[in-house]
Every structure is written in C-alpha cells, then in structure tokens.
C-alpha cells in the first residue's frame, strides 16, 4: 500500500506493531521537531487506569506537586487518595534518596490530626503516596464563608497546634501550612494534609516556583516565613509557627496579613489581647515567635477562657472605642450571615484516621534491563539487593521500593548467572559471575574489597557460612570451593560431581553444607570436616536449596517440577514431595520456619507449610519464570526475582491470603506446557516454525 503522506510503498504491515502505520512517517514524527504542549508541567496527564495494586477511579485534584486520584487498593479493598508526583519533581537530582528518607518519616507520623500516609513508593517509574480519603471541607472553604468567631476558631486552631507539636517532636516541619492543607471533618476534627511533602519534593525554591502557577505562588507565599524565602537559610519548626499566625489571623479576620496590616482586633470584634499573640507569631525574627506550637496553643486557649468583662474594661480604656464598636457591629452582622445555612461545595480530601503504616500486598521493583537473576536481603538493614542480566547490582529500600543505588557487578559484560549473598552481619555482599570470579563488596561504598579466582567456569550459586568466615561457591566447573572471607584465599575444594554444580547452601547451625547439581544429585557435607555425610536428590537439575531455620529440613527444588523436603534427622534423609507444577528455580524458608516459598518456571510463587506439606498460597504477579527468592530477616517480606525484569516484594502482613490468584491472573502460565523444559521460546520463533531442538540438530549435523 502507498503512504498518502510520503508516497512510499509498503507491504501490508497491519499485523505488526505499527498497525499499518507508515514506518517512515513514524520515524519522522518521532524525531521531527515539535513544541511540547504549553502546560506540560501541570501535573500528570491522562489518569492511568491503574498503578500497581491501585485501581484509579477518578481525579480528586491537581497541583504543582502532582495529581491526586481517588483509587482503590484491590487487595485490601480500601479506597485511598493516591497522589502521583509530578515527573518533573522525580527527575530532580537525588530525589529517590530524599523520597525514601522523608517518606519513612511521613509514614511513621501517626496523629489523629494528621493525614496519614498508608503507602508510598514507586511503581513503573511513577512516585506515589497513598493516603486515606475522607469527606470534609478545607479550612479555605470555611474561611471563604466568612471570618470565624473566636469560639469556633480557637478549637480548630488548638488542634492544628497539637498536630504540629507532635510533628515537631518527631523532627518534621510541615513547611506549607495554609488553609488549603487543613481539612475539617463534619465532626469538627481537624486534619493536616500534605505533611512534610514540601520537603519531600525538595527545598522548594527552584522547583516549587517553577511548578506552581503564578497565582498559586502569591497565595502560598503569604504563609511562608521570611527565612524560607532566603536562600541558604535553615528552616525549623518556627517556620510553621509563622504560618500558624497567618492562619489564625485569617480565621479571625477573614483576611490575610498583607503589607502593613492592622492588628486583628481592628478588623474583627475580638479581644485585642489576640493582637499581641498573633503579631508575635508573625515576627520576622523567628526568635521572637512563640517557642513552640504547644505554647502558642496554650496562650490562645488561656485567653479564650478568661472572662469577657476584662476585655471590655481594657477596651474602654482605649481611645478607639467608636471604631471598635463599629467593627463589632460589622462582625455581628456577618455572624448573623454565617448562621444561615451556608451552601459550601463539598470536597473529598485526604484525611487520616489513626495511622499505622500499612503496606500494599506487593511492591514491584523495576529497574533492571533484562532478567532479574538474584535477590538478597541485608540481614541488618531494610535493604534489598538485586542482580540482573544488565550486570548491575541494585539496592532498594525493601519497605518503600525506592532504589537507593546501583553498581556494576562485573567489569566486562559477561553472560551467565549473577548470584548474590549478604555476609551474616550485613555490610558485605558477595557476587559471582559468568567469568568464574567471586567478589566481595563493601555495600556502603559499593567497592570491591576481595576478588577470588579459581573456578574455571561460571559460578551458579554462592553462600556464606553462618559465622561469616567462609564463602562457598558452586560452579559449572563441577566443584564447590570454600573461601576465607577475610583474606580471599581458597580453603578447600569439594569435588566428586559428575555435572555442573548449580546450588549451594549452609545450614543455619553451621554444621552442614549442601550442594545440588545439573544431574539432580544433592550432596551433604559436614561443614567442619568437609566430609560427605549424605547423598540424595532428584532426577533433573537442582537449582534451588534451602535449609529450615532449625537446620532439620532441607528443601531441594528441581526441574523435575517438584520440591523435596528432606528430613535430615533421619538416616538416610527421608523426603516429602511437594509438587510445584513447573520447573522449580528457587526455594526459601521464612525465618520463623513456618513457610517455605518456591518459585517456578510458571512465574508463580507458591507458599507451603513445611510441617504438613500443604499449599498455603500461590502468588501470581510475575509474567516469566521466578528464579530467585528471599525472605527479609524479620520474616515480613518475601522478595522474588523474575526473568520478567522485575523483582516483587510481597508483604506477608497485608497480603490477602489466597486471593492473589484472582488479583493478578497469570498471563503466562497457560503458555508453558507446550514449551520445551527450561527454555522459553519467543512467540515469533514459534511462528517461524523451527523447533529449538531441530536447530540444535542442524548445528550438530554441520559440525
């Protein structure tokens, strides 16, 4: 067919990804000149249908920081307000680190007057915060309906102070207190929203002003303490006290203290003793402001509690009696107005309840280009390391899913596996690679500290002894080598395998070392004497080994599509068979020993009760084989890594048991039975019609 635009002839490409589009015109379009839409930075564009486990139901609002959506967490069946941060913010330097650091602080804030953060993290490159959604009004809407009498303003103000005091006690400064961020429920309870988000998204100066529309800058700036606008000046809790002063002024008078402004009692019929209090909070020098939110609250409450009579005597002594009386009249009139039913627009906003940090059932970590090959938890910190086909080791905060760093694990690109193991105390991470070299890294400095050479071929698996002194490495060169982890010197070589060794593991008590091989054989040694003590195994390759925490059970996963659970207290060890249903690539015991996880070629993670052999759950979230598994040291999280280029951190606490299957229907598992074992064929190859074994035959014929 001919392209009507450029006149070129093309075959019918409607079956391909272009859907009949002209390739030449598409390339011109992609690289040709174009101006970005004018308000590109105004939040995110079209709402995505979903983000991770969240189903997006509608838009609640948008601002400089991003868009807030109404969303439902499918697993927990909970409606939340989901704030997707503007990509421009996320592109800032050091944003991931800041997001992680600040996010943890925010999520830990639990106060009845603070909007709680349920969840935050990064899904498919989009940073988000999930907060509870409630129905109420903003303080802005209330003030817009008219100034508040002190009897109404003071209780709201007191709650604001309490929330801020709580936050300040926890070292968190809001930095952006304004009536738009203060939510009032129908019951009168105040909730402060967007806590600490100002800091989360950066120090403001550059980003904030560039992202905010001009009008919004003016509006926000009124609440900004002078020191916040000064470059390089530190900001502490007194910035919030300044904003509190502005909010109090506005509540009482209905106006902002702009320019040279009159004291509040000149604008409204209130006790003039409020004047000093408000003006003090608005002091340019922060030393002159109230010392704390609590002190500010107590002063205001005390004043409100004192008898009105004294107010009048004070007032009568003043020379502005008439003016005041006029003002009182005006306010009485206005108050009459507010007593009538007022129609205010109701908005749905994020407001907390009692906030415990709750996590979503799972968190997807995507960043590796190519298959994820190994996952390992730091035993000492909430840190997850992953390795991938891109030859990188990536480090993630296991609770938020935020990537905290990455380094190249191998100087040269090399094919092959890239196993990982943390040393028992943390801090040191071992890797091994297709070049047969085993390396130990200082995690904090991302620096290679020991290099161990000796294997002739690819290293498939590594394990630290529980005392951390020995590292075992299993290689395709048919040996298991033991290395001194202080010096990097070889200690011993275990051989006698007829086939490449694919897996190695130490028992937690340090007495046994196990290794599994390509031919399915599993050997057990006494780790002290290096003497072989038992043999067991499968008929096909064993890629997965794990000891139970009490060292009494050994789980071996095989491409036989099953797991054998060996009772090591029996001589010879006696197996219980667990049928995974697909080639097993990985097994892991929870630290409590109550769960055994297996990961298979079907992309499914199965959870088993090792005591009874019963299947507890099947976790479906991966779309390609799951080749590595690890439990966090506290047993709460299970990490799985897959050829689908992602790792998933499953939160066992908030994971709805037995429902995951329906939540994340496997798109991949159904394809598997037709495939040759251990190999995934691309769809296009299947169409091409050369079975892989035929190709191999052809090669063999020719050779």
């Amino acid at each position: 067919m001919d392209c009507p635009k450029c006149g070129q002839q093309w075959p019918d490409l409607s079956g391909g990804a272009l859907q009949g589009g002209c390739p030449s015109c598409l390339l011109e379009f992609a690289f040709g000149p174009s101006a970005p839409p004018s308000d590109l930075d105004d939040g995110l564009d079209v709402p995505p249908a979903r983000l991770g486990p969240y189903h997006i139901l509608g838009t609640l609002g948008r601002g400089g920081m991003g868009v807030v959506y109404l969303a439902r967490h499918e697993g927990l069946d909970r409606t939340v307000a989901l704030k997707l941060l503007n990509p421009a913010i996320a592109r800032q330097k050091s944003f991931p680190e800041r997001f992680q650091r600040e996010g943890q602080v925010l999520a830990a804030l639990a106060h009845p007057n603070i909007v709680g953060v349920y969840d935050l993290g990064c899904e498919a490159g989009t940073y988000f915060l999930a907060m509870e959604r409630v129905v109420g009004q903003t303080l802005r809407q209330i003030i817009d309906a008219g100034p508040l009498p002190p009897a109404r303003a003071v209780p709201l103000f007191a709650q604001l102070c309490e929330a801020l005091q709580y936050a300040h006690d926890h070292g968190v400064v809001h930095r952006d207190i304004k009536p738009e961020n203060v939510l009032v429920e129908d019951s009168g309870r105040v909730k402060i929203g967007d806590f600490g988000v100002a800091k989360l998204i950066g120090d403001g100066s550059s980003v904030q002003s560039s992202l905010t529309q001009s009008g919004a800058v003016v509006g926000t700036r009124c609440y900004t303490a002078p020191e916040q606008l000064e470059r390089g000046k530190s900001v502490d809790h007194r910035a919030d006290l300044f904003a509190l002063g502005v909010v109090l002024y506005e509540m009482l008078t209905g106006e902002l203290p702009l320019g040279i402004f009159p004291p509040p009692s000149r604008k409204a019929a209130i006790d003039p003793r409020f004047d000093a209090m408000v003006l003090r909070a608005l002091a340019k020098e922060r030393d002159q402001r109230p010392a704390s939110a609590r002190e500010f609250k107590e002063q205001v409450q005390r004043l409100q509690a004192t008898p009105a009579r004294r107010r009048w005597t004070t007032l009568l002594a003043g020379s502005i009696l008439i003016a005041i009386l006029c003002a009182v009249g005006a306010v009485v009139f206005r108050q009459g107005g507010t007593d009538e039913p007022v129609v205010t627009q109701r908005v749905e906003i994020t407001v907390p309840q009692v906030t415990a940090l709750e996590n979503t059932g799972r968190r997807i970590l995507s960043g590796h280009k190519g298959k994820v090959l190994a996952v390992a938890f730091d035993p000492a910190r909430p840190l997850l390391a992953t390795s991938g086909e891109d030859r990188k080791v990536r480090l993630w905060d296991s609770r938020t899913g935020v990537e905290s760093g990455a380094f190249d694990a191998i100087p040269r690109p090399e094919a092959g596996n890239l196993p990982l193991a943390f040393a028992p105390g943390g801090r040191r991470l071992a890797t091994a690679s297709g070049d047969g070299i085993v390396r130990i890294w200082e995690v904090a400095r991302r620096k290679e500290s020991l290099t161990m050479r000796g294997h002739g071929r690819e290293v498939a698996s590594i394990a630290f002894s529980p005392d951390g002194n020995t590292l075992a490495s299993a290689s395709h060169d048919r040996t298991v080598r033991l290395w001194d982890t202080q010096t990097g010197k070889p200690r011993h070589t275990l051989d006698g395998f007829a086939d490449p060794v694919l897996a190695v593991a130490y028992s937690p008590d340090g007495n046994r070392l196990a290794a599994g091989a390509m031919n399915g054989g599993v050997k057990l040694w006494d780790a002290k004497t290096n003497e072989e003590v038992a043999k067991c195994g499968h008929a096909r390759r064993v890629y997965a080994l794990a000891f139970s925490p009490n060292s009494e059970l050994l789980a071996t996963g095989s491409h036989e599509r099953n797991i054998k659970l060996w009772d090591l207290t029996m001589v010879p060890p006696r197996p219980t068979l667990l049928v995974h249903g697909a080639e097993v690539w990985a097994v892991a015991f929870s630290p409590e020993g109550d769960v055994l996880a297996s990961g298979g070629h079907d992309g499914i993670v199965r959870l088993w009760d090792p005591g009874t052999g019963k299947l507890l759950d099947s976790l479906t979230g991966h779309s390609a084989p799951v080749v590595t598994l690890a439990f966090s040291p506290d047993g709460r999280y299970l990490a799985s890594g897959s050829w689908d280029q992602t790792a998933i951190v499953w939160d066992r606490k908030s994971m709805p048991r037995g429902q995951n299957r329906d939540l994340y229907p496997p798109s991949f598992a159904v394809l598997l039975p037709q495939e040759p074992l251990g190999v995934r064929l691309p769809h296009r190859f299947q169409r091409l019609g050369i079975p892989i074994d035929r190709l191999a035959e052809a090669v063999a014929d020719g050779a």
Binding site: Q8, Q19, L27, P37, V46, R50, G416, T646, V679, P682
Partner: protein, 238 residues
C-alpha cells in the same frame, strides 16, 4: 508492571553475547537472534532473484552457518555494526557456491514466510542491499513500537499507542486524525491528549535509540546508524 514476555528482546550485541555463551541462555538467545533477524536476510535473498523455497532454505542455512562456524564469537569484541556485519557475512556466505550446494541438500524445516513475502510485492526496483536495510529498519521500528505499546498497556493506557498511530496518519485515513477528533474518541481533553502524545513520542524516541545503540560500537556510529535507518525508510541508498 512486568512486560509481556518476548516484548523486550535484548538488542543485537547482547544477544550475540548470549548466543555464544554456554547453557540455557544460549539456546534462547539463538532463537531470539533468528527470530529478530531472519526477515531482512530472507528478503535480501528473494530480491537477489532466488525463488522462495531456496531463499527459505538459505536463510536457515545461513543461521546454521553463523553458529557452526562460530562467526558470532569472532565479533564479540563489538568492533563493527551488527547490521553491516550480518550483511557482509551473508554476501560472503552466498559467494561460496560449493557450500550452498551442500546446505541445499540439508532440509531442516519450513519457514513461515508469508509476512516476508509481502515485502516483495512493493517497490520491485530496489536492490537486495536496499531491501535488506529497509526490512531491517522497519523491524527495528516495529520492535520499538511494540515495546512502547507494551509499556503503555501495562499502565492501562494502550489507547495512547493507537492514538499515536492514528495521529501519524496512515492506515485507512488519508489525513492524520486531528487532535480534536482523537480526544473525543478517547474521552480526554485536548490538552491531556497532547501531553500524553508528547510523552509517548519522547519515549518512542528513546526506544528507537536503544534499539540502535546496542548494535553499534560508539555513539557516533549510533548517529550514523540512525541516519541510515532514516535513509532506508525513505528508500534512499545508504
């Protein structure tokens, strides 16, 4: 979100590296290599005047030749552009008639060549080399678009890919669909649509560059290769 399997093929040299390594990855990579690159080779052969059945046999024989002679291992140092290398090895392969006679005897299996054949229906004047480059370019572009579509689909925005195609203007409509019509069709505001399209376009550009980058040895070559891609798609000789 995890991409659908098979939609994120590793790029040329990464695949080559795996294809010459050991074990499981090797077979997978070899298949992938064949799946990704057989079409340009087949069309080259057909444009060179060989009948369909022979071209099919030769395509397969060529891949067998590549593997059994360890030709990919020789170039693992990445000193050359993959496209150029493959084409020169192919020319060399065809020059050796004795080998051709031998390979022709060896029957492997049947290629599904219908899609490749459709290339031959258009612009019959082009040389085998041009055809090779042209098919190559379209395949790379298809791969980038497929990945873009997968990414969008994974976040529930697959329609943006459709809109992008409609906007570029082909398929059934003679003129590009207007932003207004597209926005109405997908029930979004015009600005939302333009922002979405802008982002998708940026991403597409990155993906095309990624496709190219891994098949060359330096950034300068990547620029050259991109220009070659343009030229091939415009029907010009590189």
């Amino acid at each position: 979100m995890a991409p659908a399997p098979g939609l994120f093929p590793a790029t040329a040299w990464t695949l080559v590296q795996k294809a010459v390594s050991g074990e499981d990855a090797q077979a997978h990579a070899r298949n992938e290599l064949l799946a990704r690159y057989w079409q340009p080779i087949y069309v080259y052969l057909r444009r060179g005047g060989r009948p369909a059945a022979e071209a099919e046999d030769l395509t397969q024989a060529f891949f067998v030749h590549l593997l059994e002679k360890h030709l990919l291992e020789r170039v693992r140092v990445r000193q050359v552009r993959f496209r150029g290398y493959l084409r020169s090895v192919l020319e060399h392969f065809l020059a050796n008639e004795a080998r051709l006679a031998m390979t022709r005897k060896r029957k492997t299996s049947t290629l599904d060549v219908a899609s490749a054949e459709s290339w031959l229906a258009s612009s019959s004047a082009e040389s085998p080399e041009m055809a090779f480059d042209r098919v190559w370019a379209v395949e790379r572009l298809q791969s980038a678009v497929a990945q873009l579509r997968a990414e969008l689909t994974n976040t529930g925005r697959g329609w943006i890919a459709d809109a992008l195609i409609s906007r570029v203007g082909l398929g059934t409509a003679a003129d590009p669909t207007s932003v207004k019509d597209l926005a109405a069709r997908h029930a979004v505001s015009e600005n939302q649509l333009s922002v979405a399209m802008h982002r998708a376009r940026e991403r597409l550009r990155e993906l095309i560059l990624e496709e190219i980058r891994d098949s060359v040895s330096s950034p300068e070559e990547a620029t050259d290769e991109l220009n070659a891609l343009f030229a091939a798609l415009r029907g010009q000789r590189t």
